[in-house]
């Protein structure tokens, strides 16, 4: 499976970046498409260039050998990219794809899938695997120590690094008009679905969706009340990666645009290109009446400034 080959395009990328500028210990590898697997390839690339995620996956690989699961396959794939001798090239994510098809019927075909759905599935599966392992470890530990009197609070599944990286909290606050009592409720989420209106910024759309809302009494749901500030503080403001779809699922194509070491790179299955920051404007989306092949952002990753 480690048969990797260097495309002509790949060496052009190396030249494009320049030997001095090429980041040390970084590899830009395209992924082979096994028939409508661009939804998978684009998500894998986006996750690979999410540094904390990559580091955790590689650390998982470094642990002792485990039974094959989706995470071990992902770890093998990331490991093989990260340990390539060449800086650029193409890799077939064969083992990962076959494992994925084995694990979930939904993906066991040659149809185009929704990249967002796949991202959800992948992250939830990884989180489940990690939680299960933690539980096992604990039980093993208990058996060894013979201590059965551990507090029962551990019924709650533990948080994994997947949660630490991607989970956010949405706070709903309800204020009573009469007594000013405020009750609040937290909801966890992995991603936010935002309605993007024409000629508006993402920030504005976020603000509109999470700003004050009047309900019986004054109830407001906000991502921590003042969304802009929050996006800022707690969340994710720097654009890190970007997956794009053209048209909807089952049709069209997914690519990923990634910011790595100050460069913007476009991953289109086995093709990797360096692009101008300005070129990203082409993916902001077109106004509806221009029937040109429309490419627009679909999943955007932001990183906290902290």
């Amino acid at each position: 499976m480690m048969n990797c080959f260097q495309g002509t395009n790949a060496s052009a990328l190396e030249k494009d970046i320049g030997p001095e500028q090429f980041p040390i210990n970084e590899h830009y590898f395209g992924l082979v498409n096994f028939g409508n697997t661009c939804y998978c390839n684009s998500v894998l690339q986006a996750l690979y260039f999410c540094r904390p995620f990559r580091e955790n996956v590689l650390a998982y690989k470094a642990q002792q050998k485990k039974k094959e699961n989706l995470l071990t396959c992902l770890a093998d794939l990331f490991h093989s990219i990260a340990t390539q001798k060449k800086k650029v090239g193409v890799i077939p994510p064969k083992k990962f794809i076959s494992r994925l098809r084995k694990e979930n019927d939904l993906f066991d075909n040659y149809m185009q899938q929704d990249a967002h759905e796949f991202l959800n599935y992948l992250l939830n599966t990884i989180a489940d695997i990690l939680q299960e392992e933690k539980k096992q470890e604990k039980q093993n530990g208990k058996l060894k120590n013979g201590n059965m009197n551990e507090p029962a609070e551990n019924n709650k599944p533990e948080l994994t690094w997947v949660h630490e990286i991607f989970q956010g909290t949405l706070t709903n606050e309800t204020r009573c008009l009469n007594c000013e009592t405020v009750s609040s409720k937290d909801e966890d989420f992995l991603d936010l679905s935002v309605d993007v209106e024409q000629n508006t910024s993402i920030t504005h759309c976020l603000r509109m969706q999470f700003e004050l809302r009047t309900n019986e009494g004054i109830a407001f749901s906000s991502i921590f009340q003042h969304c802009m500030e929050i996006i800022h503080e707690k969340f994710l403001l720097i654009r890190v990666e970007w997956s794009f779809s053209s048209s909807g699922p089952n049709r069209g194509h997914y690519i990923t645009i990634v910011k790595s070491h100050g460069f913007w790179l476009l991953f289109d299955d086995d093709i990797v290109e360096k692009i101008d920051a300005q070129a990203i404007e082409e993916f902001y989306g077109l106004t509806s009446d221009i029937s040109k092949n429309s490419e627009s952002g679909y999943i955007l990753f932001y990183q906290s400034r902290e």
Partner: protein, 600 residues
């Protein structure tokens, strides 16, 4: 139904609007564009920009305008509000191959009826000096063979466009020795007939002299001065050559620069979100400011040089005091990135002594009917403004405008109560804001960068913070600071709040509430959320980038959708306002009382 109606209303393009000084009206006959009047498919093109020049002749018809659309550049007689535009006869038209014009500037000192000096910057880094009256291309900069006429000039005189003269030029892509990145801004140095400054998306800026050559070898630079996030180099060579100076400012693209009215200072806004103001001759950093987030895209000086306004990717306009080197207000009205800010030098210091009658134009009347609350609200604020002036006259000191990618034009007033917040307050709206500004700001001590002379602000008094008690009492998951750790594990899910969208139209009028006010109440909770971590790059909550609740938040005087495509130009002239959108339509808005009905 209400939602639909509201949506439609929102998408309607306004052709007039009213401020306290009267009715501004779009003049459809004064619209300039490409001769065929076909909307330009703007995707992926450089912003349309407009430059004006007056030929200093006695005719009174000396105004000329230049604009770029796609790879084309046009030069027309500008008849302003007086006469309809004649698009069939551009004085000059140029089409470029392999590169696109991005920006341009006329030299106002040298302009005569026979000759003008127009600098044009290009997407591939070149700078051209052309004379659209003489139809000459006199010089090319940042192009190694600039003196060898490597570019091809085809004069298609009298061939197309009913006698208009067209030149097609291919700026041959040879090795550009100085900078290969896109030119973002080009301007003549104030008061100079030969010096000009060019900014690039590389973050560098070069000073050229039209008299000098660019040399045939790459320039060697020698450090002249270095400071916090900027450096200035001179060009080392035996004979004087271009560029004279190289400025490197901040990180990422230098999006725009502007000379102060006296020409002594230079304001630069960059993709790294910073406004930096330099002494141009002294090459010293005078002061700086950071956007709320994202890059800053545009900057403008007030006519007296006391204030600067910036606009950027945070959808905000930010007012910065040159003297105090601090943010004095932010303005929230745009729904997307702000592409141009401009002061209106002709509408400053308006004394509000005589109460203005509500001039009920047809459109305004309809607005009132359709828009219901929103409109009523703004009317009310106007009324209350007037009421307050009855007791104590407020003189509006500065007017500025902004246009953005949201296709909206906003006008703003910088009033005394914002400029001098210690004065007695006259309005409820600003009251809240200024209260916040004067009460101790609520920065958490932990994360503020220690800036010399700026001690960390003390926390907000407890009494002021409603949610604090509730956070602890509501309690089950109070420890937001530790984020994920405290809350239970749940399956990842996408949170979509589409169902709450139906309340949009109601929310619109809410915009008039001060956001700063709301967030100030929640500031304690915010501080809980904020991890205490010192990071030199973190500026939020410091004087460089104060928190939202720590500075007054301005509301736009008017906020109107005026185009189908994003707006890229806003220029205040004496009798009109000029706007342009990415589709290549340059619109003239007659000022109150300046609209002449002309007979074509």
């Amino acid at each position: 139904m209400a939602t639909e109606g509201g949506g439609k209303e929102m998408n309607e393009i306004k052709t007039q609007f009213t401020t306290r000084e009267g009715l501004y009206k779009l003049l459809p006959h004064s619209e300039y564009s490409r001769p065929n009047r076909v909307p330009f498919n703007s995707q992926g093109s450089n912003p349309v920009r407009v430059s004006f020049v007056n030929l200093n002749d006695q005719s009174g018809n000396g105004d000329r305008l230049c604009f770029n659309v796609g790879r084309e550049l046009y030069f027309y007689i500008y008849k302003g509000v007086r006469k309809a535009a004649d698009l069939s006869k551009p004085i000059d038209k140029r089409i470029y191959k392999g590169t696109q014009p991005t920006c341009h500037d006329f030299n106002h000192l040298t302009a005569t009826a026979e000759s003008v000096s127009l600098l044009v910057g290009f997407s591939a880094g070149q700078v051209q000096l052309i004379d659209p009256i003489k139809k000459e291309t006199s010089k090319l900069f940042n192009e190694e063979n600039s003196c060898q006429h490597l570019w091809k000039v085809d004069w298609n005189e009298e061939r197309e466009n009913e006698g208009s003269k067209t030149s097609e030029e291919a700026l041959v892509t040879v090795q550009r020795l100085i900078d290969k990145s896109r030119v973002t801004c080009v301007k003549w140095v104030p008061g100079s007939e030969s010096l000009f400054l060019v900014a690039h998306s590389s973050g560098a800026m070069y000073l050229y002299n039209v008299e000098h050559t660019c040399g045939t070898a790459a320039p060697h630079y020698q450090l002249l001065k270095q400071g916090d996030s900027f450096a200035v180099h001179t060009c080392k060579s035996k004979s004087t050559r271009n560029p004279l100076l190289k400025w490197t400012v901040g990180e990422g693209a230098l999006n725009e620069f502007a000379f102060s009215p006296d020409g002594k200072f230079l304001a630069c806004v960059s993709q790294d979100g910073f406004l930096r103001v330099f002494g141009f001759d002294s090459v010293e950093l005078h002061g700086s400011m950071k956007s709320y987030f994202g890059g800053l895209l545009c900057v403008c000086w007030s006519p007296d040089g006391k204030y600067l306004v910036t606009g950027g990717e945070d959808d905000l306009v930010t007012v910065w005091s040159f003297v105090d080197c601090r943010v004095i207000a932010r303005g929230h009205g745009h729904k997307s990135w702000v592409s141009v800010v401009a002061f209106d030098p002709y509408t400053t210091s308006v004394e509000e002594s005589d109460p203005m009658e509500f001039s009920g134009s047809d459109e305004d009347f309809q607005d009132l009917l359709h828009f219901g609350r929103d409109r009523a609200n703004s009317t009310q604020s106007r009324l209350s403004k007037r009421n307050s002036t009855e007791s104590r006259p407020v003189s509006v000191t500065y007017r500025f405008g902004s246009v953005g990618q949201d296709t909206q034009l906003c006008l703003w007033d910088l009033t005394e109560d914002i400029l001098f917040p210690h004065q007695p307050l006259s309005r409820a709206r600003t009251h809240t804001n200024v209260m916040n500004a004067t009460s101790p700001p609520s920065g958490s001590t932990g994360n503020s960068v220690t800036t010399p002379g700026n001690s960390a602000p003390p926390p907000l008094p407890r009494s002021n913070s409603l949610p604090h008690s509730t956070v602890s009492s509501a309690g089950s998951k109070s420890n937001v600071a530790d984020g994920a750790i405290a809350s239970g594990v749940s399956k990842f899910a996408t949170l979509s709040l589409h169902d709450r969208k139906d309340r949009h139209h109601e929310k619109d009028h809410k915009r008039n509430h001060s956001m700063g006010h709301i967030s100030s109440k929640s500031s304690d909770k915010l501080n809980l959320v904020t991890k205490t971590k010192t990071d030199p790059a973190k500026t939020l909550g410091t004087p460089l980038c104060p928190r939202m609740e720590d500075v007054p938040l301005l509301e736009p005087l008017i906020c109107k959708k005026i185009a189908h495509e994003r707006l890229t130009v806003l220029i205040f002239l004496e009798d009109c306002i000029v706007t342009a959108c990415q589709e290549g339509f340059i619109c003239t808005w007659g000022r109150p009382g300046k609209v002449v009905s002309f007979n074509p």
